[in-house]
C-alpha cells in the first residue's frame, strides 16, 4: 500500500490549520499531558498524547522549513527541530526557575504556539 499520498493529505490538512483547529488540538493535548502527568500517571495515555503532540507540531515545523525535501527527511528534520525547540525552551525555563509540572506544561504551550505561529507565517508568505 502506498502511504505517501495519504500522509501528504494529512500533512496538508494539519499544515493548513484552519481556523487554528490543530493549534487548539495541540494546546488541548498539552493540557491532557499535564492532567495525565499530575493525576492519572498512565504511560499508555502519555504515549498516545505524546504521539499526537509530536505529529501535529512536527508537521507545523517541517512545513515551515523543509517543504521542498523528501517526505521522510522532512519528517526527520521536523522531529529533530521539535526536540531542539522543546529542549531549548525547557532549558531556558529551568534556568529561570524550574521544570515542575506546571512549568513543563508552559513549555509545551510555548512550543505549540511557536510552531503554529511559524506555520502561519509560512502560509501567509506562500499566499502573498
Amino acid at each position: 500500500m502506498k502511504w505517501t499520498p495519504h500522509f501528504k493529505n494529512i500533512e496538508k490538512l494539519i499544515a493548513q490549520d484552519n481556523p487554528f483547529a490543530f493549534t487548539v488540538v495541540s494546546l488541548l493535548i498539552s493540557c491532557m499531558i499535564y492532567l495525565n502527568n499530575v493525576y492519572v500517571k498512565s504511560p499508555i495515555i502519555g504515549t498516545v498524547t505524546f504521539l499526537f503532540f509530536f505529529s501535529i507540531n512536527t508537521i507545523f515545523l517541517e512545513h515551515v522549513f523543509f517543504e521542498k525535501e523528501d517526505v521522510f527527511f522532512r519528517l526527520m528534520f521536523g522531529v529533530l527541530l521539535l526536540i531542539m525547540l522543546l529542549g531549548f525552551v525547557g532549558w531556558l525555563i529551568m534556568i529561570i526557575y524550574n521544570l515542575d509540572a506546571p512549568k513543563f506544561t508552559l513549555v509545551l504551550f510555548i512550543v505549540s504556539t511557536l510552531s503554529s505561529l511559524l506555520n502561519r507565517r509560512m502560509k501567509h508568505k506562500n499566499v502573498t
Binding site: D70, F73, I95, D100, L108
Partner: protein, 624 residues
C-alpha cells in the same frame, strides 16, 4: 510491471520481512541476555546473538544494495542502529557504570524539583561561574529528559537510559546519509554511509551512553551537513541552520560546540575563498591558511581561557610528557593515542581502519580533482579534508602538549569518524559501482538462467562471480566488519556494573524511610543511590562519587564501624537528618573484608536493616 521486476520486488519484500524477523530475534536475544550482575556485556550476551546479528547486518546490506526505495532502507537502518546502540540499557539494570549515572543523578534533581535555576543552582559564587554552569550540557539533557519523562509519564530512570541510544540511532544515520549526499554521493552510497557509521567503535560507544557529549555529537553532525550545504548554496536558511545546529551543539556540550564553531569559521573561510575572483592568488591562499591555523588553535586555547571563567579549571600547555615519557611511548601516543596502552592489535585495527581508509581516499579524491578545478564538489572535499586535519592536529596538541584537561582527548575521535564515514562509503561504492554497471550491461533488465545460456562459459563464470561478490561477499565482509567492531566499541574489561541488589537496596531505603536520611557507602552504592533519589538530595542524602567527605566516612566505617561515624555523616548533610545507613557489598569489598566489616559492625551494636542478593549486601542503620 514486467514479470522480472515483479519477481525482484517480491524477493525484496521477502528479504525485508526476513530482516524484520531477524531484528526482532536480535532484540529478543538482547533482552534474554539481561542480567543483574555482570562486568561487561560480553560476559552475558546470549551465544546466538552475535551470529544472528551478523546474519541480520549482512541481510540488511544486501537490501541496501538493491533497488529498494531509500525511505524503506533508511527505516531499516534506524531499527538496526537503535539495536546496536541499546546494549547497555537493555542488558544492565542501570545502564553502563559511568558518567551517565552521575548525569542521571543530576537530572533526577530537576525531575523531582529539588533544585532551582538549573543544575548549578543560584546563587553561585560568581556570575562567571553561573554562566559557565548555565551552558553546561547537563542542563540541556536534564531539561530534555525531564520533558520526555513528564510527557510519557514514565520515570526519568528509563527515559534517561534510552534517550541517547534512541536519538542517536534515529538521527545519526540520517545525518550521515545527508552528509554523503552533500558530497555528491548517490542514494545508495549515502544509505551505505548511514549504516557504516556503526562500524566505527568510538561513535558506537558514545551512541550507547546517555551523556551530554553524545547529544552534542548528534547536533555537531547536522551542523557539519549544513556547513557543506552552505558551501554550495547562498540560501540564508542554510546559514541559519548551520549556526543554529552549532549553537545547539554548544548547548549540549562545550567540546562539540567549540569544534562546531571552529569548523563553521573554516566553512566561511572556504566559502569566501571560493567566491574570490582570483582564488589561486597568494593573498587568498594565505588568508585560507591563516583561517585554518586559527581554527586549529580554537579548541586548545578555549581550555586555557576556561580558567578565567572558572578557577577550578587548571589546564596548561606543557612539555612535561616529552621529558617524562620514553620516546617510544611518545611515538605511540602521537600515532594511536590512548590505544598505545595495553590494547590488543585487533582493537587498534578496528579503531583506525575506517579513518585511515577515509584519509587515503580523501587524498586520492583531492589528487584526482586537482587537475579539474571546476569540479562541483572539490571545495567540499577540501573543506572536509581540512576539518579532518584540524581534528588530527588538535588531538595531538591536547594529548602531548597539554595537561589538566577537563575531559578525555579520545572523544575527538568521534569527530574524526563522523568526517570519515562518508568517504569510506564513497570508496566502497566506487568499488561496487563498476560491478553493478557490468551486470546491468550484460543482462537487461536482470540476469536470468536463459540469458546466461547465451553467454560463453568464461562470461557465465564472470557474471556468477560478480553476482555472488555483490550479493554475498561484500555484504558478508561489511556485515562482519560492523559486527566485529562492536567488540571494540563495548568494553571488554570493566568493573562490576551496578547490580540489581544495589538498586533494590537503595529503593528499599527510599520507600521505607519517612525521615531525612544519609547513606554511607562505596562509590558504587553512591552511583546506585543517585540514580534513584538524585545527587545531594537533602531528603535522601548521598555524597557525590568524588566527594572526599563521603569517601573518608566510608573508610572510617570500614575500619571502625560505630554510631559516632554515622552521627558525623548526619551532621555533614547540613540538614536535620535523623537516620543514617551504612551499606557494604561483598563483590565490591572482597569476601574477607566484607565478612570482617559485617562482623565488626554487628559487634559494635549497629543493627541490620535489611540484606539483599542472598546476603551479598548488608544495610546497617542508626537512628538519632
Amino acid at each position: 510491471m514486467s514479470l522480472s521486476k515483479q519477481g525482484s520486488t517480491k524477493l525484496l519484500r521477502i528479504s525485508e520481512i526476513l530482516y524484520m524477523l531477524l531484528a526482532v530475534l536480535s532484540f529478543y536475544l538482547l533482552i534474554a541476555s539481561r542480567t543483574g550482575e555482570a562486568r561487561t556485556v560480553w560476559q552475558v550476551l546470549h551465544p546466538a546473538f552475535i551470529p544472528t546479528l551478523f546474519v541480520t547486518t549482512s541481510l540488511l546490506l544486501t537490501i541496501l544494495f538493491s533497488s529498494e526505495k531509500t525511505t524503506h532502507k533508511m527505516l531499516l537502518i534506524i531499527v538496526h542502529s537503535i539495536l546496536l546502540h541499546s546494549f547497555f540499557p537493555i542488558i544492565f539494570p542501570a545502564g553502563d557504570l559511568s558518567g551517565q549515572q552521575t548525569v542521571l543523578g543530576q537530572t533526577r534533581r530537576v525531575f523531582d524539583n529539588t533544585i532551582l535555576h538549573g543544575l548549578s543552582g543560584w546563587p553561585t559564587r560568581t556570575l562567571q561561574i553561573f554562566i559557565v554552569e548555565m551552558f553546561r550540557g547537563t542542563n540541556l539533557q536534564a531539561a530534555l529528559s525531564t520533558i520526555f519523562a513528564r510527557m510519557l509519564s514514565i520515570d526519568i530512570f528509563h527515559v534517561h537510559l534510552f534517550l541517547v541510544p534512541v536519538l542517536w540511532g534515529t538521527f545519526v544515520p540520517v545525518a550521515s546519509f545527508l552528509t554523503t549526499k552533500a558530497l555528491g554521493g548517490d542514494d545508495k552510497a549515502s544509505v551505505l554511509s548511514s549504516l557504516l557509521v556503526s562500524a566505527f567503535p568510538y561513535p558506537t560507544y558514545f551512541g550507547a551512553i546517555s551523556v551530554p557529549n553524545s547529544l552534542g555529537f548528534i547536533f555537531f553532525f547536522y551542523s557539519l551537513y549544513f556547513m557543506l550545504k552552505h558551501l554550495s548554496s547562498n540560501n540564508s536558511r542554510t546559514a541559519y541552520f548551520m549556526v543554529a545546529f552549532s549553537f545547539f551543539s554548544f548547548l549540549a556540550h562545550s567540546l562539540t560546540g567549540i569544534i562546531s564553531f571552529s569548523l563553521l569559521l573554516l566553512a566561511l573561510a572556504f566559502k569566501s575563498y571560493k567566491s574570490e575572483k582570483a582564488p589561486s592568488s597568494i593573498t587568498s591562499k594565505a588568508s585560507l591558511a591563516i583561517s585554518f591555523l586559527f581554527c586549529v588553535s580554537l579548541l586548545p586555547l578555549s581550555f586555557i581561557y576556561l580558567r578565567f571563567l572558572n578557577p577550578a579549571y587548571h589546564t596548561i600547555f606543557t612539555l612535561d610528557k616529552f621529558y617524562e615519557l620514553p620516546p617510544e611511548e611518545i611515538a605511540g601516543l602521537f600515532l594511536i593515542g590512548e590505544l598505545t596502552y595495553g590494547f590488543d592489535p585487533k582493537t587498534i585495527l578496528l579503531v583506525i581502519t575506517g579513518s585511515t581508509f577515509a584519509l587515503l581516499y580523501m587524498i586520492y579524491l583531492l589528487h584526482k580533482l586537482k587537475k579539474n578545478s571546476t569540479t562541483e564538489f572539490r571545495i567540499h572535499f577540501s573543506f572536509l579534508f581540512a576539518s579532518f586535519l584540524i581534528i588530527l592536529i588538535d588531538y595531538r596538541i591536547l594529548k602531548l602538549f597539554m595537561d589538566g584537561l577537563p575531559l578525555n582527548e579520545e572523544r575527538l575521535w568521534v569527530f574524526r569518524d563522523f568526517i570519515a564515514v562518508p568517504f569510506v562509503a564513497l570508496a566502497i561504492y566506487a568499488v561496487i559501482s563498476p560491478i553493478k554497471a557490468f551486470l546491468k550491461a550484460k543482462s537487461p533488465p536482470t540476469i536470468t538462467i536463459t540469458s546466461l545460456k547465451t553467454l560463453s562459459k568464461s562470461n557465465v563464470l564472470r557474471v556468477i562471480t560478480l553476482l555472488s561478490t555483490l550479493n554475498v561477499l561484500i555484504p558478508a565482509v561489511l556485515g562482519g566488519w560492523i559486527t566485529f567492531s562492536l567488540s571494540a566499541a563495548y568494553p571488554q574489561v570493566a568493573p562490576l556494573q551496578t547490580t540489581w541488589y544495589e538498586l533494590e537496596a537503595v529503593k528499599y531505603i527510599e520507600e521505607n524511610t519517612q525521615e531525612k536520611y544519609v547513606v554511607i557507602g562505596d562509590v558504587w552504592t553512591i552511583y546506585a543511590g543517585e540514580m534513584i533519589v538524585g545527587i545531594y538530595n537533602p531528603q535522601a542524602y548521598y555524597f557525590g562519587e568524588q566527594d572526599s567527605r563521603g569517601i573518608s566516612l566510608f573508610t572510617e566505617m570500614r575500619r571502625d564501624p560505630s554510631p559516632q561515624v554515622m552521627i558525623e555523616a548526619m551532621n555533614q548533610t547540613g540538614t536535620d537528618t535523623t537516620v543514617a545507613y551504612f551499606i557494604v557489598t561483598e563483590p565490591r569489598l572482597g569476601v574477607e573484608e566484607f565478612n570482617s566489616t559485617v562482623s565488626k559492625t554487628l559487634q559494635n551494636g549497629l543493627p541490620v536493616y535489611a540484606t539483599f542478593g542472598n546476603e551479598k549486601l548488608y544495610i546497617f542503620y542508626y537512628e538519632k
